[in-house]
């Protein structure tokens, strides 16, 4: 086992062992436990950064035939439960790597945020430990190269996220948490049936190989997987759990949920959906495309009518994930690259937005747009950050949000034919609506006369808050200027996933 493989294992082992260690800290040292959690999350983040350095660079690229094989940078492979066809097979490549780094980053930022401020409801160290467990699940999902292992990690996040919402959430947290957990379990059991069908028919769950399935089976499997991932992503009309979960979740819960948990759905659709059943994907792509465009329009229209800050950002996620899914539905390299960068951009920007609106809600005691106004005069820095995040989210060129949305539309146009061009046009209109509701949000919250709630709130931004938000601001700008950071090297793995299409 070489250094890179040990690194890969450590990526899961550090947060897993860390969670246990953090829980074992006695209750009176709660703050020390949260600092420890932050340290461990930081170590994990550094490990994710070290991955490309440690990965052997000399792998030769041999392409036999039209479709190159999928070769991860690093991989670890061992038998776990042979009778169920389960292998412990982890690996990382250009498709999963940006999401791995994003997960590491957001977890460390969220842990740092809990050091200063623990939401009401339970012990801070338990929350920090749950964040680490969530990290294990999400990283495992992004690293898994075995179908059943992917499913297991997909399930790992379910109960910890339930606990975060139910334990530290707002007044209606019980119902929201239950809705979240039942809805997403309904999705993941479909995933279970899908992956077991594939493993049962082909005898292998190796995601780097190809799957020899008949067209009918591919259609069935893709339908199951697509619904499963559409619930997680979430795709209209299966999104109804999301606004409640986001509204009630504590700030760090919302950030993790929007920043990385939703990506498990879109990443799964690319890696597992397209990888396992390319013909099924081709069969279903028009439906996916239509639903994605409906999601964009519906999300934007609902946002225009929203009066609650967190709900508004939650519904904006539905719209953004619509762009990501539109990119995937085109089944072109451009479209999937748009989806990948859209994923990362949404993670950064929506993470930042949830941090900001969570803070505004905590400080003023209200999330209602009717009672928030004049933030610009009272808290200019906070208002400035909110403005930056909103503008990044609406897709201003030069910021991270632009590439995903623009190239999803471009890919749809390139896909050709009246159908895809129509979808592209409607999606572009949806982009304009996105701008409309974010500008409305800014007008309501930052401009106008300040309300008593805003006047009474704390205005300064503390050091911990700068530490938690700063990286997101910088990265939104950097990725906006250099999208190649996320996309370099993704074209060949995408070609091998979707087959020989250009």
């Amino acid at each position: 086992m070489d250094a890179a493989q040990i690194l890969l294992i450590a990526l899961l082992a550090v947060p897993a062992v860390g969670a246990v260690a953090v829980l074992a800290v006695p209750a009176r040292r709660d703050r020390a436990a949260r600092v420890l959690a932050t340290g461990l999350a930081g170590v994990t983040f550094l490990l994710t950064l070290a991955l490309p350095v440690a990965a052997p660079r000399e792998f030769g690229w041999f392409s036999y035939g039209p479709v190159p094989a999928l070769i991860p940078w690093v991989r670890v492979q061992a038998d776990w439960v042979p009778s169920l066809g389960l292998q412990f097979h982890l690996g990382v490549d250009a498709i999963s790597y940006p999401l791995v780094v994003l997960t590491g980053l957001l977890t460390v930022l969220c842990c740092a945020y809990t050091v200063k401020k623990v939401p009401e409801g339970g012990a801070g160290r338990t929350l920090a430990a749950l964040l680490l467990v969530l990290e294990v699940g999400v990283l495992g999902t992004f690293l898994a190269l075995d179908l059943i292992l992917f499913f297991i990690f997909f399930e790992v996040v379910l109960l910890p996220m339930f606990a975060v919402i139910a334990g530290w959430g707002g007044p209606e947290r019980r119902a929201a948490a239950r809705k979240f957990v039942l809805y997403t379990l309904a999705g993941s059991v479909l995933l279970l049936i899908g992956v077991v069908t594939v493993v049962s028919q082909t005898g292998s769950g190796d995601l780097t190989g190809s799957f020899d399935l008949s067209r009918n089976t591919q259609c069935l499997v893709f339908a199951l997987l697509a619904v499963a991932f559409a619930i997680k992503a979430p795709l209209w009309p299966l999104h109804t759990w999301l606004p409640d979960a986001h509204t009630e979740a504590p700030t760090v819960g919302s950030v993790i949920l929007a920043g990385v948990l939703l990506k498990m759905g879109t990443y799964g659709l690319i890696r597992v959906g397209l990888g396992v059943a390319p013909q099924g994907a081709e069969w279903a792509s028009p439906v996916l495309g239509v639903l994605a465009v409906v999601a964009i329009i519906a999300g934007s229209l609902i946002c225009l009518r929203q009066r609650e800050l967190k709900r508004l950002i939650a519904y904006s996620s539905v719209g953004h994930m619509g762009f990501v899914l539109l990119g995937i539905a085109t089944l072109t390299v451009t479209g999937i690259q748009a989806a990948l960068i859209g994923n990362v951009a949404h993670g950064l920007i929506t993470g930042l937005l949830f941090f900001l609106v969570g803070t505004i809600k905590d400080r003023t005691g209200t999330g209602s747009l009717d009672q928030l106004s004049g933030l610009r005069e009272q808290a200019p820095r906070l208002a400035g950050l909110l403005g930056f995040a909103a503008i990044a989210s609406l897709g201003l060129p030069g910021l991270a949000g632009f590439w995903g949305e623009a190239f999803a539309v471009v890919a749809a146009v390139q896909a050709g034919g009246p159908f895809w061009v129509t979808l592209a046009v409607i999606a572009a209109c949806g982009g304009a609506l996105t701008a409309a509701y974010f500008l409305r949000l800014l007008r309501r919250v930052t401009h106008g006369p300040s309300t008593p709630g805003v006047r009474a709130s704390r205005h300064s931004i503390s050091l911990v808050e700068w530490v938690a938000w700063g990286p997101l601001v910088v990265l939104s700008l950097v990725i906006g200027l250099m999208p190649a950071l996320v996309l370099s090297g993704t074209d060949i793995p995408i070609v091998s996933l979707i087959g020989a299409r250009p």
Partner: protein, 486 residues
């Protein structure tokens, strides 16, 4: 006529189990000391497990034309070890109650060891008659154990245990009669009792009789695992019985029933009956569990539903046998953890209590709370209860391999329903104390005053810790159990 040769080596586990029962009785007679009786019984369960492992590869014995009646196999040895472990666990859970004298130790240990002997017999049975005798030996002592409850002079005397015992007795006797009728009809039609030659009836005029016999046999056994619509006894009996005995009913007794069902279903053609039972059992078990307000009743209904998943694996016949046994193995360990935590969180010798009694318990006792979460997550089939996840996975895998994807769909749909009540109870463990009618400075302090932190008796703590260790180990290395069963 020469006498039949008997392979005593193969019978070692049975001797150890039966010897345990007799030693417990003798220890009671000669010493009368609780420590001696329970110590002997615990050592006896250990000896049974060791003997089962030693004799795993022994030759079959009690052989006659047509087959053998006592067949040591890997699966038999594994389930015998499980029976021994469950018996030891339940005995450990009962020690505090025995100490305060709610049940006489000698009789309790004797009956429990007798029941274990029955379980071992079921595991090794090679013909239908041995199977039924073993199952009855497993169940018979339980009629008494369910009702064996002495009340202290200050305690309010209830007839609940007696009522539970009677319900259980009546239903069980009827079910045995039905099963025996099934065996008899099958014998009339095919002339076979040995499992080795048991199979679907050949086309003859007697074939319909054999079919009816097989169906009756399955129905009789379905009573034992509390499959819907033959389940009505289970919640009432579990709730009336002392909690450790309910744990035994829900683990060891159920495991015996499942073993018998696996034996029969994998040889006779009973798919139609088992499919209907499976769908009804999991769906109704889960739906009714949603509405429960008492802890043991909730566990009883969830255990009904879990039996449904096992029946689903058996609906495909022989190919589902290993999956069903594996599910049962994972399930009994998780169920033992759940009942153990209930015993630990309740006053010594008390009943299971209502769900409201467990409110905030996870905050007061973090370790026990974590153990219960592990058990519930496992029963729901989710991490961190990896053992339960692999149990579900093996059933779904078997069903899809056999092209019964629709039944796998019913199973996973039920898993979603089940999660609703598991998360409800789990969340209640961590809720803040309810608001009292008047204003108090610190509701948490008041709650702690009302719910004093009960010390967990050491044997219970050790048994729960051992069961949790087993559950975690099986979660990371499920292949151990899957290998041991094949």
């Amino acid at each position: 006529m020469s006498s039949q040769s008997v392979g005593h080596f193969a019978l070692l586990p049975l001797y150890a189990a039966a010897g345990t029962a007799i030693l417990a009785l003798l220890a009671d007679l000669f010493t009368g000391r609780r420590a001696a009786i329970t110590g002997v019984t615990l050592l006896g369960t250990l000896a049974t497990a060791v003997c089962a492992v030693l004799a795993a590869n022994a030759e079959p014995t009690f052989c006659a034309t047509g087959g053998c009646s006592w067949i040591p196999t890997g699966a038999a040895a594994t389930t015998a070890v499980l029976f021994a472990g469950l018996t030891a666990g339940v005995l450990a859970f009962s020690l505090p109650a025995l100490r305060i004298g709610t049940a006489p130790a000698g009789e309790f240990c004797f009956l429990l060891a007798c029941s274990m002997t029955g379980g071992v017999t079921v595991a090794y049975a090679g013909d239908l008659i041995t199977l039924i005798v073993g199952l009855e030996t497993l169940t018979l002592p339980l009629y008494v154990l369910v009702g064996l409850r002495r009340f202290a002079p200050t305690e309010r005397v209830t007839s609940d245990p007696a009522a539970a015992s009677l319900t259980f007795f009546l239903i069980s006797v009827v079910s045995t009669a039905i099963a025996l009728l099934g065996v008899a009809l099958n014998y009339v039609a095919t002339g076979v009792v040995h499992l080795a030659s048991l199979g679907p009836a050949q086309a003859s005029v007697f074939a319909p009789i054999a079919g009816v016999g097989a169906a009756l046999l399955v129905i009789g056994l379905a009573f034992k695992v509390a499959a819907v619509p033959l389940h009505a006894w289970a919640p009432a009996t579990y709730d009336g019985a002392p909690v450790p005995v309910a744990a035994y009913l829900s683990t060891a007794s159920k495991l015996g029933g499942i073993l018998a069902l696996v034996t029969v279903v994998s040889r006779l053609e009973t798919r139609a009956v088992v499919t209907i039972l499976a769908i009804l059992t999991m769906t109704i078990g889960n739906l009714v569990a949603l509405r429960q307000t008492r802890m043991v009743r909730l566990l009883a209904w969830s255990s009904v539903a879990q039996a449904g998943y096992i029946l689903a694996a058996l609906a495909i016949g022989e190919p589902g046998a290993v999956a069903a046994l594996a599910y049962a193995g994972f399930f009994v360990v998780l169920e033992l953890v759940a009942f153990g935590v209930v015993v630990a969180l309740r006053p010594q010798g008390g009943d299971g209590g209502t769900l409201a009694d467990f409110r905030g318990a996870g905050r007061r006792s973090p370790w026990l709370g974590a153990a219960l979460i592990l058990a519930f997550a496992g029963l729901a089939g989710l991490p961190p209860g990896l053992a339960g996840l692999f149990a579900k996975l093996s059933v779904v895998d078997a069903l899809i391999d056999a092209n019964w994807t629709w039944l796998a769909g019913v199973v996973v749909l039920n898993a979603v329903i089940a999660l609703a009540y598991y998360v409800r109870v789990s969340a209640a463990l961590y809720t803040l104390p309810p608001r009292v009618g008047f204003s108090v400075a610190d509701p948490v302090l008041l709650d702690e005053a009302i719910h004093p932190h009960l010390p967990v008796p050491r044997p219970v703590a050790i048994a729960v810790a051992a069961a949790v260790t087993a559950a975690v180990a099986l979660g990371f290395a499920p292949q151990l159990l899957l290998n041991a069963l094949t």
